[in-house]
């Protein structure tokens, strides 16, 4: 037992740390954010798009996508996820974590994995038409060469090379994963105007051409297990990201209350806010350690699903609490566009429930109680 960052984990921290300087983090937190109510036709500013591409290129150089797609480097991955959450950096990495697990479960006939690992190829998971992260239906045409489906909450669909459409044929108990070229006439995108003002899309597939089915068929026997594995790994990644987000919101607030003077002294000196921040710090430490435990279990070949689920439940709650507290302790300034507190607050609303609402996660956990 040695519960501290391993050399490899410290390596990830140090390499990313060189990129994520305070100035860069300040930029990243605003990168790709659309104006309030920008609606469906909200292309990112060209300069922003270029900046985003260059950040992605650096992450690829640092082999972060390779971490996301590996199955034995969770310990390093959660360190990276934490730092990216701290920087509020939005990216297709969550989907890459899940996509890699799906692709690995079947012969990789399209050679997707190497592109995902290098970061040269980006994919977006198109899974749900509803709030629940579970797969919605998909209509299969002909002998499986074309599909029609509607999907919402597809992250970074506009920039993706391919969509992985996870779905259940109507009336069929089976599950399939179709690989679909994003740039084709049968794929229509509409940007969703979400509270995070980011890159979520509604995707309509109308007899879109299928490049391939993972597992070779729309009824892939291993699909439920592969999807469960994908969700497990994505949840662990997301939990780490949310802990980082909470840490970022907390650090922002701690710095502010030390400077902000009220009643002739820094706000930090008042016990009411100080103790609330201390409690958030303690919760961040505990939930962060649960994430690390889950990563260790994963790399040690253990069943890390329950730990990932617990960590995600607690990290989502923590991220929302820390970001709400950030606004409260910044005062009205925290709500202004100039202050990042409101960014943490808005993004946490989406990221905390991205892979399941607290109610859904608790219900799933409840089934694992002895006698539950």
């Amino acid at each position: 037992m040695d519960i501290r960052l391993s050399d490899r984990q410290a390596g990830v921290r140090d390499r990313l740390g060189e990129l994520l300087t305070p100035d860069v983090v300040a930029t990243l937190r605003r990168l790709g954010e659309r104006p309030l109510g920008a609606g469906a036709a909200a292309e990112p500013e060209p300069a922003e798009a270029a900046a985003r591409d260059s950040v992605w290129a650096v992450l690829c150089e640092l082999e972060i996508p390779a971490l996301a797609t590996a199955t034995d480097r969770h310990a390093e991955l959660v360190v990276a996820a934490d730092l990216l959450g701290h920087a509020l950096y939005v990216s297709p990495l969550t989907d890459h974590v899940a996509a890699a697990r799906l692709v690995r479960a079947a012969p990789d006939r399209l050679g997707l994995l190497s592109g995902l690992a290098s970061g040269r190829r980006t994919v977006a998971l198109a899974v749900r038409d509803a709030a629940d992260p579970g797969p919605s239906t998909v209509e299969v045409h002909g002998d499986g060469t074309r599909i029609s489906a509607h999907r919402r909450f597809v992250a970074f669909a506009a920039g993706a090379d391919q969509l992985l459409v996870v779905g259940r044929p109507p009336g069929d108990a089976g599950l399939g994963v179709a690989v679909v070229e994003r740039d084709q006439p049968g794929v229509l995108l509409r940007r969703q105007d979400d509270i995070g003002r980011g890159d979520l899309y509604a995707v309509t597939l109308r007899e879109a051409t299928v490049l391939d089915w993972l597992g070779g068929s729309p009824q892939w026997t291993d699909a439920p297990a592969a999807y469960a594995a994908a969700l497990r790994a994505a949840r662990l990644y997301q939990a780490a990201y949310l802990v980082g987000l909470a840490r970022g919101a907390l650090e922002l607030t701690v710095a502010y209350v030390k400077e902000r003077q009220q009643f002739g002294q820094p706000v930090a000196r008042f016990q009411a806010p100080a103790f609330r921040l201390a409690a958030l710090h303690a919760r961040t430490a505990a939930v962060g350690d649960l994430v690390h435990l889950g990563a260790w279990e994963a790399d040690d070949g253990r069943d890390f699903g329950p730990t990932a689920l617990r960590a995600l439940l607690l990290a989502g709650e923590l991220a929302r609490d820390a970001s709400a507290e950030a606004i409260q302790l910044h005062g009205a300034y925290g709500m202004t566009e100039r202050c990042d507190a409101q960014r943490f607050y808005r993004r946490a609303a989406v990221d905390a429930i991205w892979l399941g609402t607290p109610g859904a996660l608790r219900t799933e956990l409840a089934r694992q109680l002895p006698g539950g």
């Binding site: 040695d2 016990q271 100080a274 103790f275 303690a282 505990a286 350690d289 260790w296 040690d300 002895p370």
Partner: protein, 386 residues
């Protein structure tokens, strides 16, 4: 991060768990649950059974009755005792607090004299820190040690909220040996023989099963042999030791034991069919797992001799705050039967949940209150007050 116990440590955990699962231990735990009012566990046989194997103070050297293992094995014993429902208050006081002081700060003679009876489970040592007006402000203590020639001292003062001294042989007592401008200076630690003229132990009855004691020190004479560590340096020692004692392992284990009993009760009564109940339980279960992860980080820090005061404060705060949530949920889900005591005869889970409800406040008060933990994090960790 490596959370793996070594194969030897895994085996040690299995052996400890096996001992604690023996019928004689289960019988003792059940008997304790049915103790008469105002009766409480003292020197339990199970301590002696652990002591015989050198497990009660597993990380102490063999010559002092331990088995020369590490703090990891020591934490395993503490955790397993708590998870098995074996009362650990006397163990924590004797081994983890007083014994640790003697082990790290005592003279060779003091170690030879005081440690073996504690490690074998044949003697209890307790702590005399706080006083009626002190609370968390320990440096305000007024118990005084007056020089009495030949390096001897006489102690005068009143200590409160002490536990287990009615069964104890010695108590670690903080007394003022010098008046100083800085009130943290001039405090010295003494090992006070409790069965002596000049020491009066009286109960301060509380709602909990374990009684508090009020202890009057009326001029008991102590020699240099009774002084632990340097004279006037007690404050520094207390703070150093608090850091070594405060992992959260014991607190988490205790709350987990209550929680597991609650889940078992809910399963037995059909309450798990209620999705509201199960989701509340699942939520607390997740938090307990987080508490445990953070507590084991403290053990790992200690094993490397790198205790972290902020992290250990976070661990203590996080684990103990769950106590309140668990006992509240126990009465919410258990309903009125969970409020019946063991003496009623129709209580839920032998009155364990009712007793837990009365005990829970001690967790957020003992070993540094929740507010002191938050103060430590806010001041030392976040540097908010500088």
């Amino acid at each position: 991060m490596d959370y793996a116990l070594t194969p030897a440590q895994e085996e040690f955990r299995r052996e400890v768990r096996a001992l604690l699962a023996e019928p004689r231990v289960r019988k003792a735990v059940e008997e304790i649950a049915h103790y008469r009012p105002r009766e409480e566990p003292a020197l339990l046989d199970v301590y002696r059974w652990l002591g015989e194997r050198g497990w009660l103070a597993a990380n102490w050297p063999v010559e002092y009755g331990g088995s020369g293992r590490t703090v990891v094995e020591s934490a395993i014993v503490t955790e397993e005792m708590a998870l098995a429902g074996v009362p650990d208050d006397a163990h924590v006081l004797s081994i983890d607090i007083v014994g640790l002081f003697v082990l790290l700060e005592g003279t060779p003679e003091q170690k030879r004299r005081f440690l073996p009876p504690l490690a074998s489970g044949e003697s209890i040592a307790t702590v005399l820190y706080t006083e009626p007006h002190c609370g968390s402000d320990l440096a305000a203590l007024t118990t005084r040690a007056e020089p009495d020639g030949d390096g001897a001292w006489r102690l005068y003062g009143r200590k409160v909220y002490n536990q287990k001294s009615q069964f104890g042989d010695y108590a670690l007592c903080a007394a003022r040996t010098a008046e100083a401008e800085v009130r943290f200076h001039g405090i010295t630690l003494f090992l006070v023989p409790l069965r002596s003229p000049g020491v009066t132990i009286a109960p301060l009855w509380s709602m909990e099963n374990n009684r508090f004691n009020e202890i009057s020190l009326d001029g008991i004479r102590l020699t240099t042999d009774h002084v632990i560590g340097p004279v006037d340096a007690g404050w520094q020692l207390i703070n150093k030791m608090l850091l070594l004692e405060r992992t959260g392992i014991d607190f988490h284990g205790k709350v987990r034991y209550w929680f597991d009993r609650l889940v078992a009760y809910a399963a037995a009564t059909g309450a798990l069919a209620d999705p509201v109940a199960t989701t509340q339980l699942a939520d607390l279960d997740a938090r307990l797992h987080a508490a445990r992860a953070l507590a084991w980080r403290q053990v790992s820090n200690l094993a490397r001799h790198e205790p972290d005061p902020v992290s250990s404060a976070a661990s203590k705060w996080y684990a103990t705050e769950l106590a309140r949530a668990v006992v509240r949920l126990a009465t919410d889900l258990g309903g009125l039967p969970a409020t019946l005591s063991t003496w009623d005869g129709e209580s839920a889970v032998d009155g364990v949940l009712e007793a837990a409800y009365r005990t829970a406040p001690t967790l957020t008060l003992a070993s540094g209150t929740s507010e002191i933990m938050l103060y430590l994090i806010a001041s030392t960790g976040l540097e908010l007050f500088s």
